[in-house]
């Protein structure tokens, strides 16, 4: 039975004739229902993750599933991938009810998933990764593989260096290999789960083009995202999920007829149910930058995995100012933040905090002087998951009064402090004794912000403050960051989200390959222009930006 379905896949790359047959867009297949959900409900303890959702994904279309964190997107992906089983309702394949009780079964029915994080073995070559799932008794044919890869390259522009070590490829390249792997399996349904979150703006555009070509070949593409513009640009059809329910759909015709702005407006309305549009740019506050709080001069940092040996970083942040650090993830932003916070050695150069030389000062000393660092890794670095919320609020001050007296803990004081933070930062937690890992990402973020702002903070370094948060929490976090700057604190905002940088920053520095390759005055009233200028610097095209 599974084999039968695999054979009926509209796209068969194993023979060249198969390709030729499907060479022109398959008009008939475009309307056929490839895979669908019929009144599917999935419960987890305490939550209904997916509530009576019916969807049908058609061949030849890019169908966007849009929703915030916790809207039920991942649960639907899990059910289609055979990892999760619906509690009620069921899945359909080409109109027939079907049960996918394991990932293997899902694959054999021609459903392939490309997950957000690459599912490749980094220490194997690309070829080895591609043949990993093959039957063990069959010898994998190299020449056959090369032939098929060449087809894929021609048809979809997929770059698949068969002999490269997988771990040395960029995330975008790894994603192409995963797509190639799915196509080599003759899939008819391709699910891309948050596939753009790790890509450069150019990579996102390329992926968009590739999805279009795959859909034109008759594949059914399911594209999961929470970015509205991507949904508009790449999708034929958009289904919006909200808290596990299907909030609405935008059909093919109305999506094509609408302008980007009005489509985004529609999607926002579906996602937030008529609430104030989250995309409205916030008015720029009337704050004035004061004196320099944090000054780095020719810093050389031990970059670890990022080569920063030849970069000398200089920057200055004034009180009441937000300096944004833009850049593609992994270009030394984290290293810079850690060096500023004192967690990473500074090899040369000088760092001044409020006029005092702190180049060699410890983490604790810098904190005492008012430097705060909000890490992007909330659960694995910023907090100790199994410790209660209360303990986590004081972990940066272990042993200090008033929470300790001569080394002896004063639990009542700590609990009181925690309750105060929970109240002031509107943290949703059952109580202060709950292990912090039980809280949602947004609530952990609020608590950690509260921890960093307690005492006298003068400089706050935010590293990807809204990473992994849903839209409501992101909006909330941005509002708080602005409030921090308005209160006269110097803010260094590291983010890979360009919109966020442009919305909040006064000036924008761009990091590329461990260096700061440019600093721009922000103009948040012309976000599109800013995005282009910053984007060019991000991809290492400083000359082009200088010329422009």
């Amino acid at each position: 039975m599974p084999n039968q379905c695999a054979r009926s896949s509209p796209w068969q790359s194993s023979e060249l004739e198969g390709l030729a047959r499907n060479a022109d867009p398959v008009a008939g297949a475009a309307n056929s229902n490839a895979v669908g959900l019929a009144s599917v409900t999935k419960r987890f303890p305490g939550v209904v993750a997916v509530d009576d959702v019916s969807l049908s994904f058609r061949a030849g279309e890019v169908h966007v599933l849009l929703g915030e964190n916790g809207a039920g997107k991942s649960t639907i992906v899990g059910m289609l991938a055979g990892v999760l089983q619906p509690d009620s309702g069921g899945l359909t394949l080409a109109g027939e009810p079907v049960q996918l009780s394991s990932p293997f079964e899902s694959l054999s029915f021609g459903i392939s998933t490309v997950f957000q994080h690459a599912m490749l073995v980094p220490t194997l070559t690309v070829f080895e990764n591609l043949v990993l799932g093959d039957a063990w008794w069959r010898r994998s044919s190299r020449s056959q593989m090369e032939e098929r890869i060449a087809e894929l390259q021609e048809l979809f522009g997929l770059q698949v260096p068969l002999d490269a070590m997988t771990g040395e490829l960029s995330l975008g390249e790894q994603q192409q290999i995963e797509i190639a792997r799915a196509l080599l399996r003759d899939c008819s349904v391709l699910i891309l789960d948050e596939a753009t979150s790790m890509l450069t703006p150019q990579g996102v555009d390329e992926l968009g083009g590739r999805m279009r070509r795959l859909a034109d070949r008759g594949l059914s593409i399911i594209f999961i995202t929470h970015k509205l513009t991507e949904a508009y640009r790449f999708g034929d059809r958009v289904s919006v999920l909200k808290l596990g329910r299907l909030a609405g759909e935008i059909g093919k015709d109305s999506l094509k007829a609408a302008s980007e702005a009005s489509a985004v407006e529609d999607m926002l309305r579906l996602m937030f149910g008529g609430e104030e549009s989250a995309a409205t740019p916030a008015p720029q506050p009337d704050r004035t930058a004061g004196e320099v709080r944090l000054a780095a001069a020719n810093l050389r940092i031990d970059g670890g995995s990022v080569n920063m040996a030849h970069s000398e970083i200089s920057l200055a942040v004034r009180s009441g100012e937000i300096l944004g650090i833009a850049g593609i993830d992994g270009n030394g932003q984290k290293q810079l933040a850690e060096a500023l916070a004192g967690q990473r050695p500074i090899l040369a150069g000088r760092l001044d905090l409020d006029g005092e030389d702190v180049t060699d000062a410890s983490v604790g000393r810098r904190r005492a002087l008012g430097l705060r660092y909000l890490t992007d890794d909330r659960l694995d670095e910023g907090s100790v998951g199994m410790f209660p919320v209360a303990d986590n609020t004081v972990l940066k001050e272990i042993g200090a009064p008033p929470f300790w007296s001569r080394g002896i803990e004063r639990p009542a004081r700590i609990a009181e402090h925690a309750r105060d933070l929970i109240k002031r930062f509107a943290v949703r937690t059952p109580n202060e004794f709950t292990p912090i890992s039980n809280l949602s990402g947004g609530n952990i973020q609020k608590l950690l912000l509260g921890r960093e702002l307690s005492g006298t903070a003068k400089v706050v370094v935010f590293n990807k403050p809204t990473y992994g948060l849903d839209m409501q929490n992101s909006v909330d976090s941005r509002r708080r960051i602005r409030a921090v700057a308005n209160s006269g604190i110097a803010v260094l905002l590291i983010s890979t989200d360009l919109d966020e940088i442009i919305e909040l920053s006064d000036r924008i520095a761009v990091m590329d390959r461990g260096r700061i390759c440019g600093v721009l005055e922000n103009n948040s009233s012309a976000p599109r222009e800013m995005r282009t200028r910053v984007g060019r610097l991000m991809v290492g095209d400083a000359a082009m930006e200088a010329a422009a």
Binding site: G46, Y373, F387, D391, L395, G399
Partner: protein, 361 residues
């Protein structure tokens, strides 16, 4: 699925207020494996033709219910408690000090070398104090190499402490046979501290006051780990090294301190056995208490009071099984079968709990 399980499954039991709700699941998860291990061991005993009730009866009567047996059991807990104190520090700080047996033996040899030598020259209490102090220092010194390697090079301490424990055991033997040999006897052993000069006995019993030292050590460690800034630092390092660096803790220094404390306690345990009970170290003596205590500390989930209870239980088992072995012909090492099956069931219970928590989360 039973009702109780169904309750647990839905989280009802956990939300119901009261002591049972708070400690119920933990008790179940601790006592459950012990009961299962007893049943499992009974089956093995039956298979080799021994009446399990008779065996357990002997164990209880000889280890717990007879006056002499009880005092022997209590005396045996002293070194075990000191070892446990050191292991609790290490494990809660995320350090796998599996070298306690080497540290224990070298501590024992150090105290056995020092105490008889200065006995008579100094007041008795000072002899004992110096004996303990030297044993603690020697135990701690034997952990310096694994500590530095772990702290500054990230070398896995499981490997290094196991290696140093083998070296330590051999070194202790060599020291007894070559350096501290008692010329007065033909048996290869150190000089003996006379019985009246050893640790005083408790009241009118034969129980060594090492028991009190052990109890104080475990309770002190328990309080220190849970209620002091130092303990929280160690626990933070143990829970998440990256977070600890982020919080500004000096992970290498705390790692070295953890090793020193843990190994120091192991050395003290050696001293308590020599200065309290044996009086000397015979060549090739290695009770391997450390490897016995490690599973117990885990079983107690590093909780001080629970550790004390389990160690007492284990001592009763050790002493009782010695007589049961003689009477029923069951090898004394059968206690290991019992402890091993406890561990297996403990692992199963833990896995079950995690699985449920994952499902609930």
């Amino acid at each position: 699925m039973s009702d109780a399980e169904a309750d647990l499954e839905s989280g009802e039991l956990l939300h119901r207020p009261g002591a049972l709700a708070r400690y119920g699941p933990i008790l179940l998860l601790t006592l459950g494996p012990i009961l299962a291990a007893l049943v499992c061991s009974s089956l093995i005993l039956l298979a080799v033709g021994v009446d399990p009730l008779a065996y357990y009866g002997y164990v209880l009567r000889r280890g717990l219910l007879s006056g002499l047996g009880l005092s022997q059991s209590l005396t045996r807990t002293a070194p075990l408690l000191l070892l446990a104190a050191g292991l609790i520090v290490a494990f809660r700080a995320g350090i796998w000090n599996l070298g306690v047996d080497g540290q224990f033996l070298l501590g024992a040899v150090a105290s056995a070398a020092l105490a008889p030598a200065i006995h008579g020259l100094l007041p008795g209490w000072l002899v004992l104090l110096l004996g303990f102090a030297l044993a603690g220092v020697v135990g701690a010194l034997w952990s310096v190499l694994p500590a530095l390697l772990k702290a500054y090079q990230g070398v896995n301490e499981i490997i290094t402490t196991l290696m140093t424990t083998f070296l330590g055991i051999s070194l202790a033997n060599a020291l007894v046979k070559l350096v501290f040999l008692d010329p007065g006897t033909t048996v290869p052993q150190t000089r003996t501290l006379p019985v009246p000069d050893r640790l005083p006995r408790l009241f009118d019993t034969t129980v060594s006051s090492g028991l009190i030292i052990g109890l104080i050590a475990v309770l002190a460690v328990h309080v220190a780990m849970n209620r002091t800034a130092f303990g929280l630092r160690l626990r933070t390092v143990g829970a998440n090294v990256r977070a600890a660096s982020h919080f500004g803790l000096s992970v290498p220094q705390l790692t070295v301190a953890t090793f020193a404390l843990s190994a120091g306690f192991a050395g003290l345990a050696g001293a308590s056995e020599i200065l309290g009970v044996n009086g000397n170290v015979r060549a090739d003596w290695n009770p391997a208490y450390g490897l016995m205590v490690i599973p117990l500390v885990f079983l107690a989930r590093f909780h001080g009071v629970a550790t004390i209870a389990l160690i007492f239980l284990y001592s009763v088992l050790l002493i009782g099984s010695e007589s049961a072995a003689r009477r029923l012909g069951v090898p004394q090492t059968f206690t290991l079968v019992l402890v091993a099956s406890m561990l297996i069931f403990f692992g199963i219970a833990e896995h079950h709990l995690h699985h449920r928590m994952r499902k609930a989360g």
